[in-house]
């Protein structure tokens, strides 16, 4: 019985983590940009949903509009502040962090201290193996699976996907082959932000929309991505799933210690590092440099 609980809880958690981690890994894998503002886009997207639903557009249109808006804002920030310092890792960290703070403060300015609330599209809950799971969560999970499959098709079955994969493997050779690498990177950045925006849109009805919600998600996403191996897409998804299940295990097996969720997730990440310094699916260090 307890394993059914863990299974369901872990799965529900996995969906959003995986979407966020995949987008982050994509941007890093191809663009080599460690974008600490990634989850800030997630936050802005949920504000977008809050705004558009508030003025009465209905959920589907709100998702489309806020995704477009977030991708536009994200690309603008990327072009303005990140692209020129891409090569300097510490500078990228700070520039992306400052971008995140900028977005946070802008949201605070526009929406004030009033927290956002988005009504559910799918109300009620379903019992699965005796566990109550909200229908909204099931929809979110379905959207996550859809996005992941869509991304997989895009990467493995299209010419764009081929260009992306080539650029990720060896930007210089890709350049020689006539691929406009910096254009590809821009497309990938847009795709990554789109994933973050969709994740934000999907969970908006499940959370309290507030400007600081990007921070604790950022930690989990970073841990998941590193755990799976930086730059590895399947690794990042696996990392997200592992951490989601780790959290579920802690909650159910150690009820008095569920506040240790994050600490345990971090310990798992470090444990993997000690055994495999390049993460589960990461390229070896030699290959990386």
């Amino acid at each position: 019985m307890i394993f059914a609980d863990i299974l369901i809880d872990g799965l529900v958690r996995s969906g959003v983590y995986a979407m966020l981690a995949l987008g982050f890994a994509l941007v890093f894998g191809v663009g080599r940009v460690l974008n600490l503002a990634h989850t800030a886009f997630f936050m802005v997207a949920s504000y977008g949903i809050f705004y558009f639903v508030g003025i009465g557009t209905g959920m589907p249109l709100a998702i489309v509009l806020s995704s477009i808006g977030v991708v536009a804002v994200g690309l603008l920030l990327y072009k303005l502040f990140l692209e020129s310092v891409r090569e300097m890792e510490a500078t990228v960290l700070i520039a992306s962090l400052a971008s995140a703070v900028l977005l946070q403060e802008l949201m605070l300015l526009f929406f004030g201290r009033q927290y956002g609330r988005v009504p559910e599209v799918f109300s009620g809950f379903t019992r699965i193996l005796g566990v109550r799971v909200g229908n909204q969560e099931l929809a979110t999970l379905a959207l996550a699976v859809l996005c992941l499959v869509g991304m997989w098709v895009l990467l493995s079955r299209t010419r764009l996907g081929l260009a992306i994969r080539t650029s990720a493997q060896d930007p210089e050779v890709a350049n020689l082959m006539g691929i406009n690498v910096s254009r590809v990177v821009q497309v990938v950045v847009a795709l990554g932000i789109l994933l973050a925006a969709l994740a934000g849109a999907a969970v908006a009805p499940l959370i309290t929309v507030e400007p600081h919600l990007w921070m604790d998600r950022l930690v989990i996403v970073l841990a998941a991505v590193v755990l799976g191996g930086l730059g590895s897409l399947k690794g990042s998804i696996l990392g997200a799933v592992i951490l989601a299940f780790a959290e579920a295990f802690v909650v159910f097996l150690l009820p008095g210690g569920s506040y240790l969720r994050t600490a345990v997730a971090m310990a798992i990440m470090l444990g993997v590092f000690l055994a495999r310094p390049e993460g589960l699916f990461g390229a070896g260090i030699e290959e990386e440099s």
């Binding site: 020129s84 700070i94 930690v219 600490a263």
Partner: protein
């Protein structure tokens, strides 16, 4: 008299010739005499915290800027220093004079403990792995609230000194000493090796240098200095709590250092002394405070990706193409080899 003359000559030939050095000298002198002109305890408090955070930023610069070991979990060292000093003071009644150095040493040990497992990690992996350490320590803090005070932290710590002015001189004095020592370290052979490890560790190892020892050294010295600043911080504010281990506590030294200019030591000093008081000025517009702060950082990074201090230095001084000696921007010939300087 003779000594004075030597000092005078040294001043003339080594410091007054270079604008950046004059600037540094004026800055130090101004800091030292400031309390004679203003006893405003608000101003002094801001400067004390600025000095404490300067040490913190410089410690990050040593580890990340010089040795290339980018740490996103620097709050660990800061927090270990703060909590150790606080616990020694409240549980054992140790005075700050002993507690603060012990806090720093404990943080140095934690630097070693973090450094060893992280030796195998490179670049981004290291940055993200170090992120985990303060979060894990936060978990421990909450796991033993009877001992650590949980979310309340540890309070009723002995004040750093009886008056604000004495506290000021302790903080500023320690800061100047630490910065001078780190400057000495980074311009020595060790600093050179740190540089080299950052640029290409394999080559350094091929030269027969034990890079592991040097990397651990960087971790330990950095931990020591960050711990020192944390311990001073705890005794100055008379509290040590989980906010010392916050995500942003880890990000702050990175912001200050990159803003001021990494791998320079004077860069982070510039960064903190500009950004920390700037936040105070921005209190005038509380709603826009963080917004302006973020924009300021983004604009400086956009225009001067190498940081502010190196850019200023390049405006003030130019390097002789011949002998690599630095010269004041007003000179047309090199002060050492007399060769023509390009304008």
């Amino acid at each position: 008299m003779f000594r004075l003359r030597i000092l005078g000559r040294y001043l003339h030939s080594e410091i007054l010739v270079l604008p950046a050095r004059v600037l540094a000298l004026v800055f130090i002198a101004a800091l030292l005499v400031l309390p004679l002109f203003s006893g405003d305890s608000y101003l002094l408090m801001v400067l004390i915290l600025t000095a404490i955070f300067t040490m913190y930023a410089v410690s990050w610069d040593l580890l990340a800027g010089y040795a290339g070991q980018i740490s996103l979990g620097h709050a660990l060292f800061f927090g270990v220093g703060a909590y150790t000093a606080a616990l020694l003071n409240t549980k054992l009644g140790l005075s700050p004079a002993f507690g603060i150095p012990l806090g720093a040493v404990t943080a140095m040990t934690s630097g070693l403990l973090v450094g060893v497992p992280c030796l195998r990690l490179r670049r981004h992996y290291l940055a993200l792995a170090t992120l985990a350490f303060p979060l894990m320590l936060t978990g421990i803090v909450f796991a033993f609230p009877e001992f650590t005070g949980g979310e309340l932290g540890i309070y009723a710590i002995t004040r750093l000194a009886a008056t604000r002015v004495v506290e000021y001189y302790i903080a500023i004095g320690t800061m100047l000493l630490v910065v001078a020592l780190l400057w000495k370290l980074t311009t020595s052979r060790v600093g050179l090796i740190f540089h080299a490890i950052r640029e290409d560790e394999v080559v350094v190892r091929a030269l027969g240098i034990d890079t592991i020892r040097y990397k651990l050294l960087a971790f330990m010295v950095s931990g020591l200095v960050a711990g020192l600043s944390g311990a001073l911080y705890a005794h100055f504010l008379r509290t040590a709590g989980p906010s010392n281990l916050d995500l942003f506590m880890s990000f702050h030294p990175v912001i200050w250092t990159i803003f001021g200019g990494a791998a320079t030591i004077y860069g982070p000093v510039t960064g903190v002394f500009l950004l920390f008081p700037a936040l105070e000025y921005l209190r005038a517009v509380p709603e826009y405070r963080m917004l302006i702060f973020a924009l300021l950082i983004l604009l400086v990074l956009r225009l001067l990706p190498g940081g502010l201090a190196p850019w200023i230095r390049d405006r003030l001084e130019k390097q002789c193409p011949n002998c690599r000696m630095n010269n004041a921007f007003v000179r047309s010939t090199c002060r050492a080899c007399r060769s023509q300087l390009t304008p």
